[in-house]
């Protein structure tokens, strides 16, 4: 024992050599509570699934913190993570307002933020730390408008959009995309997330002579709109925003009420027949007892790309950031590559429900909508 003691002490004092198996830290900062809890939980689950199954030779530790729905909580969580966890990358909130507060701080620290937030401004601020693994409104809104106008031949849409950044940004891009297709909405109405009775807005759409509803609402309001439109017999086709594709949204609506409802999204893992996506979906169901959505898959793909960077030798935040900015990554939902500002996703799909169940069918893929290939 006396001979062993110096060796034990030496082992304790000397730093462990930096080998490939040294753990790297990743922080998961997402909204688990509040009005974005569904989306944030999907983000969390996608990130956890990726981080629990790192590539060979990579050991990763991670901590999860709730950012709720205020920038204040998100910034506090970020500063705690930066100071106490020293992460090489951070799974960051879907909530754009939080991201706008976090991005400058992460930029000063040089730590990449991996997000599925759709807020366009995020990648327009000149920071090089935001990496978005979900198509921006400049992609998905174009897909939504094209599908409505070119495939469904709709010409007099009414737009209902949320009063949040998600709603306002989506509304702006949707109107622009429709304009480029020569269509002007007959009604554009902002809906507060707290409003439960959508019938007045739906009746105004009917009175305006709308031939369709284009939605840019969060999960709960989307479900309410679909149910109440069915309830008053509005009979208009609905092309919704990405919230509609979430299984948790569809679960709030009767299958029959979903007939004729379509939605834009980045992917639809629960109904995607490709084998690797199906394997992901099965693992997700088994682990979390829930259906995966595009946010979960986007966050999963994002974290997988971070782990690929680490496996390739990028072991500092700066190295991971540089790797993400430079390489293409074939994820499950799509192939990701930066457009130079951190927008990694450039494809969109349209899913529709046939009324026989709550699982959507992928109706059309729109690849490289923004021209980035």
């Amino acid at each position: 024992m006396r001979r062993l003691l110096p060796i034990l002490l030496l082992t304790a004092v000397l730093p462990v050599s930096a080998g490939a198996a040294d753990p790297v830290a990743v922080s998961v900062l997402v909204p688990i509570t509040g009005f974005l809890a569904l989306e944030g939980t999907a983000q969390r689950n996608g990130a956890v699934l990726a981080l629990d199954n790192p590539p060979a030779g990579v050991t990763v530790t991670y901590q999860i913190a709730d950012t709720a729905t205020s920038p204040e909580v998100a910034v506090t969580a970020l500063q705690r993570a930066l100071e106490r966890e020293k992460p090489v990358a951070i799974a960051a909130p879907i909530f754009g307002t939080q991201m706008l507060a976090m991005a400058p701080i992460a930029n000063r620290a040089g730590v990449p933020l991996i997000t599925v937030s759709g807020t366009a401004k995020l990648t327009e601020l000149g920071h090089d730390v935001v990496f978005r693994f979900f198509p921006t409104d400049a992609v998905v809104k174009v897909a939504q408008a094209r599908y409505a106008v070119q495939e469904l031949k709709l010409s007099k849409p009414a737009i209902l959009y949320q009063t949040t950044s998600y709603g306002q940004s989506g509304h702006e891009h949707l109107v622009r995309a429709l304009g480029e297709l020569g269509v002007k909405p007959v009604l554009e109405e902002a809906i507060d997330p707290g409003i439960k009775d959508l019938v007045p807005a739906l009746e105004r759409a009917r009175a305006a002579g709308a031939d369709s509803l284009l939605l840019q609402l969060h999960s709960g309001p989307t479900a309410l709109t679909v149910r109440q439109a069915h309830g008053i017999g509005l009979g208009l086709p609905i092309v919704a925003g990405s919230a509609m594709h979430q299984p948790t949204t569809a679960a709030l609506v009767e299958a029959a009420q979903l007939k004729g409802v379509c939605a834009e999204t980045a992917s639809s893992p629960m109904s995607d027949p490709r084998p690797d996506v199906a394997t992901f979906a099965d693992a997700y169901r088994k682990r979390f007892n829930a259906e995966p959505d595009a946010f979960a898959l986007g966050q999963y793909d994002g974290m997988r790309m971070v782990l690929a960077a680490v496996a390739d030798g990028a072991r500092t935040p700066q190295a991971v950031k540089a790797w993400l900015a430079s390489y293409r990554h074939d994820g499950l939902a799509m192939s990701y590559v930066s457009d130079g500002t951190g927008n990694m996703a450039h494809d969109a799909v349209i899913v529709c429900y046939d009324g026989s169940g709550r699982g959507p069918i992928i109706m059309k893929r729109y690849d490289a909508v923004d021209g980035v290939k």
């Binding site: 688990i32 509570t33 999860i64 913190a65 709730d66 729905t69 205020s70 920038p71 204040e72 909580v73 910034v75 506090t76 969580a77 500063q79 705690r80 930066l82 100071e83 106490r84 754009g96 307002t97 706008l100 507060a101 400058p104 701080i105 807020t119 401004k121 601020l125 009063t163 949040t164 950044s165 998600y166 709603g167 306002q168 940004s169 902002a190 507060d192």
Partner: protein, 573 residues
């Protein structure tokens, strides 16, 4: 100036502990939490003035917080002005907004205050979310920090010694700025509530009828406290904006208001230092429970609930149980040199209707200076309503009241005290947590005059007792002392002898006679004929709102109408 209290030592120790903790941790995360505690403490100190001191459940403090944040962000980001200018606007703009809403809001009763201010907060949230210049739902980003880089102080040459330069990192500068704000907020809160202002505010809050009768004008107090609260809320919001770098509609959201309210309650309602303690407990708490992941809010809620159950008066109230407030210094009693002469009270044709019921129907009588007039009648005959009309708590439908020849009809209650009218109540109200001397001094010229009034009612030796320690009879005497301390020319008393022993009634009768002898006009309502008839120079008897008899006590006692309506057949014997 309030004296140093033993609790202040506890607060200083807690502050030293907090500073030590931050210095030891020392990283940006610890600095941020400490800054957040300071920011919410400032907002809650302001809120204590409205919620704690005025007793108004305003739900607009969160909106003032947001208004300050937006004001500072707009000026520094959109207009490119320096941060100090932005912070100045963060104080001034919400203070002005608060002053504008103060008067209409303060006229409302408790739950209507909550509803009205909640409506205003919702309007602010809608404006922040939907207006273009506020940046919509994304808000305003790129708000500059208070300082961008470290600050270097020195080197300093002190005589032959050179003190090396001190480099203060930016995070520390922000923290120090915020806590200077806390100190300033505490000083402002102390300035607007110092001395007898605190007792005045407590009386306005807990004893509104007494406050009106004592001539305490709540309008100015409400205006000042609302404006100060708004300004402090705005300052907190401005500091938050520059600390975060972003202002979004979340700063106007209800969650901010709930946080401020929770801090005020947990800290101890009405206590500025309690607000700091509450913020120091509540703001870091979610961080402590982060390891619980999705369940941390449950743990947070449990602690919050436990704190409310175990410390219903908050941290400051709990500390007050251990370290009671020191009793005020007792001055030598002194009658004011500017004591008013007695003033005759004349009532002419007074009418008051409540819907279809005419409670007072053409009542006329007079109370000459230097006399005692007794007002009698059965329950419901209109006696208390008459007193309420005279003291201004009710507005007559017709008639006139004159005090020393001055018409009172158009004057609010608090003006009548200035003219020399004071009253006591059948069920006197007192503010809680005050000492007897403080209560008596609330409408007095100074505490020496209040001591003289306490001496007249036999409560001088109870001056340093808490009001809560007084018995029912003592409270009646305190009510009378409070009225006498205002040095009135006419005094109206509503059942002052109710519940008193025979000895106390006799002493009270002597006192009232002395007051009349000193020149006061004294009007007394009482049911005790053995007390009132020997005391009074004249008696006025009411029946169904009308005067059915008036004159010397013996004459009225023999009046058949009075006997039939009130005294009964045995009284005349």
């Amino acid at each position: 100036m309030t004296r140093f209290d033993r609790r202040d030592g506890v607060y200083l120790a807690a502050a030293a502990l907090g500073i030590g903790g931050v210095v030891i941790a020392g990283d940006a995360y610890a600095l941020r939490i400490a800054s957040l505690v300071g920011i919410y403490a400032i907002a809650a100190i302001g809120y204590q003035l409205v919620f704690g001191r005025l007793g108004l459940l305003s739900l607009a403090q969160g909106a003032f917080f947001g208004l300050g944040a937006y004001a500072s962000a707009l000026l520094t980001v959109s207009a490119g002005l320096p941060v100090p200018v932005g912070l100045a606007a963060a104080v001034v703009v919400p203070a002005l907004a608060a002053a504008v809403i103060a008067l209409p809001i303060a006229r409302l009763e408790s739950h209507y205050v909550a509803l009205a201010t909640l409506g205003l907060a919702q309007l602010a949230l809608l404006a922040a979310t939907n207006l273009e210049f506020t940046g919509g739902a994304n808000g305003i980003y790129g708000v500059p920090p208070i300082v961008t880089n470290s600050i270097t102080i020195g080197p300093l040459d002190v005589g032959s010694v050179t003190i090396a330069a001190l480099v203060v990192p930016g995070g520390w500068v922000t923290l120090i700025s915020v806590w200077f704000g806390v100190l300033a907020a505490l000083l402002v809160a102390r300035a607007v509530t110092r001395g007898d202002r605190s007792a005045v505010l407590a009386t306005l809050d807990n004893a509104p009828h007494a406050a009106a009768a004592l001539g305490l004008n709540g309008t100015t107090a409400r205006l000042v406290l609302f404006a100060v609260a708004g300004g402090l809320g705005g300052l907190a919001g401005g500091l938050q904006a520059h600390g975060l770098g972003v202002v979004s509609p979340a700063v106007v959201g209800f969650e901010v208001m709930v946080t401020i309210l929770a801090i005020a309650v947990i800290g101890g309602r009405g206590s500025p230092v309690g607000a700091v303690l509450g913020a120091a407990l509540l703001i870091p708490l979610p961080e402590v429970f982060r390891f619980l992941e999705g369940s941390y809010l449950i743990a947070y809620g449990v602690v919050l609930l436990a704190a409310i159950i175990l410390m219903p008066r908050g941290l400051d109230g709990w500390l007050r149980d251990w370290f009671p407030r020191r009793a005020p210094a007792v001055p030598a009693p002194r009658q004011s040199t500017s004591k008013r002469p007695g003033k005759p009270l004349v009532v002419q044709g007074l009418v008051k209707r409540f819907g279809g019921l005419t409670a007072v129907d053409g009542v006329s009588f007079s109370v000459p200076a230097g006399t005692v007039v007794g007002l009698i009648g059965a329950n419901g005959s209109g006696k208390t309503t008459t007193l309420n009309l005279i003291s201004g708590l009710e507005r007559p439908d017709a008639g006139q009241i004159r005090l020393g020849g001055e018409p009172l009809f158009e004057r609010p209650a608090h003006h009548r005290r200035e003219l020399g009218l004071a009253r006591s109540f059948q069920h006197p109200e007192f503010p809680t947590g005050l000492f007897v001397l403080e209560v008596a001094a609330v409408a007095a010229k100074d505490r020496a005059v209040a001591m003289a009034a306490l001496g007249r009612v036999g409560l001088a030796d109870r001056a340093t007792s808490l009001v809560s320690a007084l018995g029912a009879a003592e409270l009646r005497r305190l009510d009378l002392a409070r009225a006498l301390a205002a040095e009135p020319g006419a005094l109206i008393l509503d059942e002052p002898a109710a519940g008193l022993t025979a000895e106390e009634r006799a002493a009270l009768a002597v006192l009232l006679r002395d007051l009349a002898t000193a020149g006061l006009a004294v009007l007394v309502v009482d049911h005790g004929m053995d007390f009132l008839l020997p005391l009074s120079d004249r008696i006025v008897c009411l029946e169904a709102g009308k005067v059915i008899a008036s004159g010397p006590p013996e004459t009225v006692r023999q009046n058949p109408a009075v006997i039939a309506a009130y005294l009964g057949s045995g009284a005349a014997a």
